[in-house]
Each structure stands twice: as C-alpha cells, then as structure tokens.
C-alpha cells in the first residue's frame, strides 16, 4: 500500500540514513548522494550513531532481532527533517514496516509512525520534493536502469529514477526484457536458495547485457551487489579482463553527468 | 463429537470478534459498468461470444428455422435433438422434418438412451433464458422439458436467444431476476464452444462439450 503523500516544502536540512550496505560496501555512492543533495543547497546531516534499518533480520524471520536494531534507529532523527535513504528497500522497511514492527509497543509505534512519514528514497526526494532537473554535461551514452522490487512495489518510486535519467539529454535509457522482475537478491534468500537466486541473477544480467547499454544504474545497492557480483564472476569465468557490465548507484551516475 | 462439531468449534473459537460491513457490490457495478441500449448490448454480446469462437446469426422471429436448416445443411447434419413441449421445440418439430431434418426428442430419462445421446446425437437445439453483454454469455436454465445434457453432449449446440433478453452484466441478470430467492437444479452460463489450452497453451475447441456453438439471435418486434 503506497499512501498518498504531499511533498513538504523544500527543506533546508535533511538527515541522511546511509544504510549498512552503503556505509560498508558502497561508501562512494553515499558520498555522491550527499554531494548531490548539498549541491541543491541542502544541509545534509549524517547521524554518526546510525547502523542498519533492521531489514535483514526482519525478512529472515527474526523480528525480535530486527526490533532491537530498528529501535536504535528510531532515536537518531530528533529534528522534524526529512530522512533521505539511498536505497528503496531500506526506505521501504522504515516507511512501511516500522509501524508494524512496533505494533505492540505504543510509544515506539508512535515514534515509528512519525519517522515513517518523513522517510524518502533518494530519487523520490530529488524528484518529488526538490523538483531536481539534472543538467546533462556528459557525452552520448546508453544506460539501463534496474529498480529494486521494494522501490517499485513498496515505495512506488520506479518512475522517479526513470524520470531523472530521462532528464539527461545525452543519455539514452535502454529497456531490458522482464524489466520489473526481481534480480534474485532477496537478502538471505541468495544464500538459502542459491540455485534459484543464481538462476534469477543469471537471467537478469543476460537481459541487462542484451540491451547493449554500457552500464547499469540502480538506486539499490543490494541489487547492485548481486547483479555486479554475478557479472564480474561471469567475466572471470570467461576470462574477460574488462567488466562486461559495469554499474553504479544512480547517485554516482547523476553526480558525474551533472559535473562540469 | 463429530467432525462437523469439531470443525465448527474450532472456527467459532478462532473467528474474529467483528464482521466487516457487507461489501457494496451494487455500487461497484454502477460505477464501473455501462448501462447500454438494446442495440449496444446485442452488439457487445455478439462481439464477445464471437471472439470465443461461437457463430451468431441474426434471425427473424417468424423464419428462424430457415437459418437453422441452413446451418445444419452446411454441416451435413440430418438429425437434431429438440425439446418437445417448448414453443421453439414445437416450431422446430413442425418446420424442420418437411425440410429433411429428422428431429428427435428427449422424452425419457437419460438412463434409457444414454448411449444414443453420446454416440448418435449430432446436434441439439435449446433456448437461452437470457444473455449477458459484458462477457458474451448465454444463460440457460435446463428443466424437465429441456434437460441438462442437451447443451453438453451433442457436438453442435444451437441456441435460440431473444435479443431483448440481454442484460448488461451477470450481476444485473441475477439481481433483476431475483436468483437469490431460489435457483433451479442447474443453471448455466455458456460463453462459447467447449475448449482447452492444456497442451502447450494451444487453444483447441471441442474438448468435452460441443465443438460448435451457434447462436440464433431473434431480433425485431415480438
């Protein structure tokens, strides 16, 4: 269920919730997202105490563990500023699952609801709140966009990434076969059911490559870890030295294209 | 305790304390389905049932047996099962034999002639009680005069439909006719000839029921 929301007026300050994956595996994407926001004249606050939204435990069937970790995040955003998250699935966790997670705890439930109301996925924030229109400074290129299932179905923001890329006048956005299908990551699914997950990512990488795009961009680092991880594995298997499917977070791509 | 009591006991124990409001089916249909004129409904009915591979012929009220005769002749069918005692059955019994079509009647319980029904009845004629434009659907209420197997076993099923009896939707048909107050032994919606796509999603007609469904649409003044 995607609640209707009225974008707030352009804020001066936002919180940045990086997510544990970005903090540890894709810090460059986090930096680029922050820079992108700052270039819009926004002060970006990074609460040092942040860790993880709790989603890995939540989706694996360990809500108690998730609750403990999520409860900690509830304390990090005292000001009434938007919380921008460079990941659709983590934003979805905070926006849609926190109130459920704390259903039995009225105090935290109220905190969770207040937080949920101001959680934004990065591309959604750029488009819906900042009305960001990227000015393309790069040369002609073709990219393909992968949107995470949570961003698409939980956050309903599959159109904002496409819109941002569409605004880049020298960028052609290719359309992959079975675009809306899952890449096969699914957190612990990828290690609990490696055969199925492996088949899914294999098909996803094939479809992305078949577009002829020179790179894949995504607003979700979990998907990128899976997709790029498989593409690199395949390259190694087949003795390729240069990546057959490079990729990056959409924030990095946007920042580069808009930098003179 | 019986299985019945145990099941009901568990369900009562597990039931929610409140029942949600009765869903408003009427307003959904009012908001989402057009109410069309007779001509529009006939056209919509025809479009959808033809899409489902039925053949539709517009026929005059006083001369439909001529079309029926043509339909049978074109298929080399010389024998038709009709419902004796129904108005349309009596017309067929009067008018088809002189044109060389033998008419058999369903005048005894199926047990006495099951093999003949299955093996030697190439075509049947029944009436439709009404129809549904939205989906191109015939409504049949088989009865003692026009029993259930007539619309199922013969490979060619011809249906006579009065074009003034087409409803917009299934919902409209059942509410307008007060079906909730009682249904017959068997009531049927039929929306084309029998078909299957069970082999490699390839559509094939005549799976178990009629291979051909032919609708004679009675139009004009009653």
């Amino acid at each position: 269920m995607i609640p209707a929301h009225t974008p707030p007026p352009r804020p001066a300050d936002v919180y940045f919730f990086a997510t544990c994956v970005v903090d540890q595996f894709y810090p460059g994407a986090g930096m680029d997202a922050i820079t992108l926001l700052e270039r819009q004249g926004i002060r970006v606050h990074f609460p040092e105490e942040q860790t993880c939204c709790g989603q890995p435990a939540y989706t694996s069937g360990f809500p108690d563990a998730a609750r403990k970790v999520a409860a900690h995040q509830l304390t990090l955003f005292p000001q009434d500023w938007p919380v921008v998250v460079p990941s659709g699935s983590c934003a979805g966790m905070m926006k849609h699952h926190y109130p459920t997670l704390f259903a039995a705890d009225p105090v935290r439930k109220a905190q969770a609801e207040k937080l949920s109301a101001r959680v934004y996925e990065l591309t959604q924030f750029l488009v819906d709140v900042l009305n960001f229109k990227p000015e393309d400074c790069g040369s002609d290129c073709t990219v393909v966009l992968h949107t995470s299932c949570s961003a698409r179905r939980e956050m309903g923001v599959h159109l904002t990434g496409r819109q941002l890329l569409g605004d880049l006048k020298n960028v052609n956005v290719a359309q992959q076969d079975h675009e809306s299908e899952c890449c096969g990551f699914g957190g612990t699914f990828s290690i609990k059911q490696p055969e199925i997950s492996g088949a899914m990512v294999e098909d996803k990488v094939k479809a992305l490559k078949a577009t002829g795009a020179e790179r894949v961009v995504s607003a979700d680092c979990g998907c990128l870890m899976n997709i790029l991880g498989h593409a690199a594995w395949k390259d190694a298997q087949e003795g390729r030295k240069t990546p057959s499917l490079p990729g990056e977070h959409i924030a990095s791509f946007l920042l580069r294209r808009t930098s003179k | 305790m019986s299985a019945r009591d145990r099941i009901l006991g568990k369900l009562r124990h597990g039931a929610p304390s409140t029942v949600p409001a009765l869903p408003d089916v009427a307003s959904w249909f009012a908001g989402h389905r057009p109410v069309e004129s007779g001509t529009e409904k006939a056209a919509r009915f025809r479009h959808f049932i033809e899409l489902a591979h039925a053949e539709v012929y517009s026929v005059a009220r006083d001369n439909w047996t001529a079309t029926l005769h043509q339909v049978l002749k074109a298929r080399g069918i010389g024998k038709l099962l009709v419902a004796e005692g129904t108005p349309h059955g009596e017309v067929a019994l009067d008018e088809l034999p002189p044109r060389g079509v033998e008419c058999s009647v369903y005048d005894m319980a199926i047990e006495a002639w099951k093999s003949e029904m299955f093996n030697a009845t190439p075509a049947s004629l029944t009436a439709a009680r009404a129809a549904i434009a939205e989906t191109g659907t015939l409504i049949l209420w088989p009865d003692a005069l026009e029993p259930r197997l007539m619309s199922l076993v013969p490979p060619v099923h011809v249906v006579l439909l009065d074009a003034t009896k087409i409803y917009n939707t299934f919902y409209e048909a059942m509410t307008a006719e007060g079906w909730q107050d009682g249904l017959p032994t068997n009531s049927l919606l039929i929306s084309g000839p029998s078909k299957t796509a069970d082999i490699q999603q390839t559509l094939a007609y005549g799976a178990h029921g009629p291979k051909e469904l032919i609708v004679l649409l009675l139009e004009g003044e009653q």
């Binding site: 199925i196 | 089916v25 299955f118 259930r148 005549g206």
Partner: protein, 476 residues
C-alpha cells in the same frame, strides 16, 4: 492409474529438485515461455488500473466479510443444501474425506469415478485411496488426464500439464492409449482425449468435482471451467460428489460475479470461462437427467488453524486463480513439481504449512526473494510476502508452549538464532557497529575468496577500504 502417493516432506530435497530444473535449459525456457504467455493474457484483461484496483479491493472485502462469518455461513450452506436434497459431509482430515467418498462409492458398488478438476482431491490423494479401495479414479480435465497418464502430479493449479510439450504428450498418447498412432497435432491429441473420456463419462458410476464458490443463501455449488468435463462429471453419472475446502464459501449470490470476474481474468486472461455451472440440487422428480444423488464434502485439513490467527486467516481469502505462480520469478525458474506439494508457487508456500505442518514445509517459506510480484497481482489482495515472513518467524523461532501452528519452531536452529542475536547486539550498539565495520574495512581483504553459496555464481563480497563515515570525517 497407479499414481504413487507423495509422502509429503516438501522441505526434503527441495534444493536438489529446484537445482535439477534450474540446470535444464529446455525446461527453463519452457516455463519462462508459458509464464510470459499467461502474464500477457492477464495484463490484456486489465487495461484500466483503476478498475483493477477497485475490483481487487471489492474482492478482498467480499472474501474477508465471508471469512469473518464462516462458521455461521457453513451452517447456513449445510441447511440450504440439505433442504435442496444435497447431502453434506464434514471431514477434518484427508483420511476422513477419502473414507466419506469411498464409503459412497462402496454403497453404490461403484467401479469407475470420473473426476473433474479438483485440487482438493489432489490434496487428499483421492486417486491413490480410490485405487487401494478398488475404485478406478479417472481424471477428465485434459491437463489432469495427461498428467495421470504419465503417472505424474499437476505442476500448476490451473494448467496441470504446463511442464509438458506437445511432443511429449504425443509420445505418451501413442504409448498409453490403445490404437493411437503418434501425432503432435494439438487438435488431434485433444480429439483422442475426447473420444477416450466420452466413453468413460457414459460408463462412470460416480462423478467427482471441486467447487469454486459455495453460495450459502441459495445452497448452490458453482464450478468454473472451459472444457465441459466438469459439467459431464456433475451431470452424466448417477452420483455426483463435490469436495471443497471450508473456506470457499460466500453468503450471497451477488458476491459471485466480482469473484468470478477476478478469477477468470487473473487465471487465464479470459473475461469469463466457457462454462459457469451452478448446481443447487440433485435430479428432481420429472427431470430426465442429472445425478440422483449429490454430495458435498467439506474439508478442513488445517484451514481452521490458519483461520484462528488474524494475519494467517488472509491465506484463506484465496480463490485459486494461480496468478501468483504465473508472476513468480521463483516458480518461473523451478516449475511446480520442485515444490513437492499439491499447491505450488507462492500460494502453495503459504497454504501448505497449515496442511502439512511446518515440520515438513519450513524451507518453503525461505524460497522467496520477497519481491512482491505475487501480492501485487493477487486478485483478493492476500499479502503473500508478509505471510511468508510470518511463516519464517513461526518456523525459526524456538519452539514455545502455545504455538498457533503445527510444527512451530521446526526450523529452529540455536546456532542461527544465536547469530541473529549477535547481529542485533552489534547493530543496536553504535560502538560495536563502529568497531566491527572498522575491522571489516581494514581487514576485509582477508575475507575468503569462497563465501559459501554467495560465491557459487558471484565474486566474493569485500567491504570498501573506507566506510562512508570515514570518508565524511576526512572531508570534514
């Protein structure tokens, strides 16, 4: 007709079965093609998203309303069917259901039962029980007939033989059907099936069917089908036995049109099925055909367990359209048989644990990336991903005294639970998190090149040399 019973332990060998399909490029391509076909057929039926969403909401409301009144409605259904002359039976377990059905067969010295499509009859393994009792049970839905002839199980609830090519079916018919030469012409194959089965409809003593909707206010059993075999089974033999799960009930006849529309459009992309067959009584005096006796068997088999929990009750909203499997990226990769349950795909994962216990099904809930495609297309808005997470919790939490499900805690592992407790301890503490991630950033290079299942098709994960927080601090 010697179908082997499956002694359901779907969790056992699930990974091996799914690997076998995943490694077979021909099967992969074939499932993909079939699912693409069904998805595009459904999409074509719902061009207007507002109409679709409002109809789904209505469907959900109808199912929830009727489930809330389930015990009362079952009694009304029973009373009205009984008044109409239909005999109603209740079965808590598959064994009880089989005993009821075979008892009716025996009272009538029945030799042959023809069956219309009924997943509930698959659920109770009726064919096997009938065979053991000396009653022939012949499937008459074309797909089910093919699957039975091949001594297999359906791999899809709507398209039972979706895993088979026409060439395989051609060879099967040439081998198993008397006097038939090889042909892979689909029309010819269907005519072969038609001719064999027509003779059986004529001879059968009993016709068995499922039920799509049972209407309490009128005492009516509704059946949805395209082939006409369901009508044959419920009309030609002298006795008709219908079997249904206790959840498929609606109070009012007017609840049927929205559900029917959702069902056929979601299942096969048809605006309506060829036949919608409403049966309210056995043959009445003066009527010339139809069964002399009609029986309805109401089966629980774990449904009352799901019913007792507010969240799990939503499982019972299902109208068995199969859209969730058609849209499931996991089902598309492994097909129906790999699941090892009567009901495969997303609906199978959420309904089977109530039938078979979590002890037999705990790994099924893990076989989902929680992508949400199933929940998005479900015509009655069952939140399948949420229910999968709940089942994971029920399976993996340590067994406790007052479980809501049979087999609660069956997947419990002290080690795994300990790991998550440890994870929570680190991730709830900024200090421990900073220490752990600092170590990761310094020594991540020392992580092994083989990281279990992850590196079976991916390069190893290595934390970046600097964390985002380090980069921010350096930037100042």
């Amino acid at each position: 007709m010697n179908a082997q019973p499956i002694h359901f332990k779907p969790s056992e060998g699930f990974r091996a079965r799914s690997k076998a399909v995943v490694d077979n490029p021909f099967l992969r391509q074939s499932f993909r093609g079939a699912m693409d076909f069904l998805m595009s057929k459904r999409a074509a039926q719902f061009p207007d998203d507002e109409e679709l969403q409002s109809l789904r909401s209505l469907g959900e409301a109808i199912r929830q309303y009727n489930l809330a009144k389930l015990p009362e409605l079952l009694e009304r259904l029973e009373a009205n069917l009984t008044r109409n002359g239909v005999k109603v039976h209740w079965a808590e377990t598959p064994d009880e259901a089989n005993a009821i059905i075979l008892g009716i067969c025996q009272r009538h010295s029945a030799k042959l039962m023809v069956k219309g499509k009924s997943m509930v009859s698959e659920e109770i393994e009726l064919n096997h029980a009938a065979e053991a009792a000396g009653v022939g049970a012949l499937e008459s839905d074309m797909g089910e007939y093919i699957v039975q002839l091949a001594n297999e199980k359906p791999s899809h609830i709507i398209m039972p033989a979706i895993h088979k090519t026409k060439e395989e079916i051609a060879r099967l018919f040439a081998d198993k059907v008397e006097g038939v030469d090889y042909t892979d012409n689909v029309d010819a194959l269907i005519q072969i099936g038609r001719n064999v089965l027509r003779q059986k409809f004529l001879e059968a003593d009993i016709g068995l069917s499922g039920v799509n909707f049972a209407v309490a206010e009128t005492g009516t059993l509704c059946l949805v089908e395209n082939e006409g075999n369901g009508r044959m089974c419920t009309t030609a033999p002298p006795i008709h036995i219908a079997i249904t799960g206790i959840e498929k009930i609606v109070e009012k006849l007017e609840h049927v049109p929205p559900l029917l529309s959702l069902l056929t459009r979601s299942a096969t992309g048809q605006n309506i099925s060829t036949y919608f067959n409403m049966i309210s009584s056995p043959r009445k005096p003066g009527e010339k055909d139809g069964p002399e006796e009609v029986h309805l068997v109401l089966l629980d088999n774990g449904r009352s367990q799901a019913y007792a929990d507010e969240q799990l009750r939503k499982t019972l909203q299902c109208i068995r359209c199969g859209a969730c499997m058609n849209h499931c990226p996991v089902y598309t990769r492994i097909g129906g048989h790999a699941y090892g349950t009567t009901y495969p795909g997303p609906i199978g994962k959420i309904v089977s644990p109530h039938m078979l216990g979590l002890e037999a099904t705990s790994s099924m809930a893990t076989a989902s990336s929680l992508c949400g495609a199933c929940g998005e297309v479900c015509p009655v808005k069952i939140p399948i991903p949420e229910l999968l997470m709940r089942l994971r919790e029920e399976a993996f939490t340590a067994p406790h005294a007052d479980p809501v499900m049979r087999g609660q805690g069956a997947g419990y592992s002290p080690l795994i639970s300990g790991i998550w407790r440890g994870w929570a301890m680190v991730y709830r503490s900024p200090l421990l998190y900073r220490m752990a991630t600092w170590l990761g950033s310094r020594f991540g290079g020392l992580l092994p090149a083989r990281q279990g299942a992850w590196t079976s098709v991916r390069v190893p994960l290595r934390p970046a040399g600097k964390r985002l927080r380090d980069m921010l601090r350096e930037r100042g």
